[in-house]
Symmetry: C2
């Protein structure tokens, strides 16, 4: 399971302020700390970027690249910003992401072909709602693949995000149980080892005691890992959760055990 930082997001005042002032230092510092904490890739989430989408995304990609050459996820609904980010990226980029929304299939998905990069597909219905049952999820997974094919993008470029629900949602627990089954079953359904990603921070969004939120993360992550999750997008400053990711890899991915690798 690869560890991807979701820390670089515009909803954090320090990031919003640095973007506003075009000050690379706070962002470079944040990214350095993410890498030190174990981040293997950095998700850049600048929001929908209604103003200056291209310039802002270029600023962010260049700032991240000034301190690390780890892969970058371009996490916005703005196609122009994604395109500029892809153009600015010297290393590996991943588009995060598209869904069955017409707008996204038409304007974001083609960028995966144009730049030859991986793209995350959300398991959401065409109105961007979380589907209510497993059968719907499977149907959506197949439709995402059909859209990939229509757009001429190699199916192996797809990384599916089954969209973890906040636990405090009415059907959050049941949905997240379905997510586990889905991750386990998707490779059989699609007929190839399709990769999966999950946003862990979603699980505990909303009110709740901090210690129990961490416990929910460290308990649900091993379940995701055992189901076969490839990438965990999360706050890499949650030390216990990062330790758990490493332990998951120790138990699931290794062939030879050693406490040292734990």
């Amino acid at each position: 399971m690869q560890l991807i930082a979701d820390n670089l997001q515009i909803t954090r005042p320090v990031v919003a302020d640095a973007v506003e002032r075009r000050d690379p230092l706070p962002i470079a510092d944040l990214v350095k700390r993410c890498v030190a904490a174990g981040a293997e890739a950095i998700d850049i989430n600048p929001g929908p970027l209604k103003r200056n989408p291209r310039e802002t995304m270029r600023f962010l990609v260049e700032t991240v690249q000034s301190v690390t050459d780890r892969p970058i996820l371009l996490d916005t609904t703005n196609p122009a910003a994604i395109e500029e980010g892809l153009a600015a990226c010297r290393g590996t980029a991943i588009i995060n992401g598209f869904s069955l929304e017409r707008e996204k299939c038409n304007h974001i998905l083609p960028l995966a072909k144009a730049f030859g990069v991986d793209i995350i597909g959300y398991l959401l219905d065409p109105d961007s709602h979380v589907p209510t049952d497993e059968t719907d999820c499977f149907a959506i997974a197949l439709e995402l693949l059909a859209e990939m094919e229509k757009a001429g993008v190699d199916r192996h470029r797809l990384i599916i995000d089954p969209v973890i629900a906040p636990l405090i949602w009415g059907n959050g627990i049941a949905h997240n149980r379905a997510v586990l089954a889905l991750i386990r079953t998707l490779p059989d359904l699609t007929g190839f080892p399709v990769r999966t990603i999950a946003g862990i921070s979603n699980l505990t969004s909303g009110p709740g005691p901090k210690e129990k939120k961490r416990l929910a993360e460290t308990t649900f992550l091993p379940m995701l890992a055992a189901a076969g999750l490839d990438m965990a997008l999360m706050n890499v400053f949650h030390e216990e959760t990062v330790r758990t990711v490493r332990a998951c890899n120790g138990l699931i991915r290794q062939e030879i055990f050693s406490w040292a690798g734990f």
Copy 2:
């Protein structure tokens, strides 16, 4: 997932000493602390009991029953001790357990019928070795059921223990991955919702840093829970691990989420 204490075992000097002196107090105190820590059942493991098997087991069962009415697991290879324990037990008893060893099928399994109690069956080959691959495990599960039938014991009385391997064993990681697949698949294989139990302390037996051992427990337990494990037999004084068991139940068994139940 039910939490079962493995703390009452003869390998602990305080237990060995109390048994030797027939002093119920240290044992009663230990059991009280197990219950306070969240134990929903108590495993009594007095070793093979070469001397005074009946008297010793009766002493232990009566001492446990003097402080709790939770279910008792009779964990010994000595059939006379199991029989006496069953006779002494006023509440629910579970035999722990039998395997395909001829001796055990002939002398332990019939006690499940005689006393109408649940019995744990170990997924071990007839020489009591851990099988090397998943296919062998499945074959052994079916043989355990065949032995149940031969002995006239209701198949729903069987609780399968797939035997977690110590991580430091040569093939420990691979075996434990197979255990996860097995727990998930056993109900399909047997054709009924067969229950499963796992000894968590086995995972980290042998040398290793304490903190990493706890991390291995709290990481592997959610994997077992998501696979469908019914009972976790473990040291209930490991607070983080007990917290994880509760969180697993919050994520897997509940229908309505609340941080309070976490």
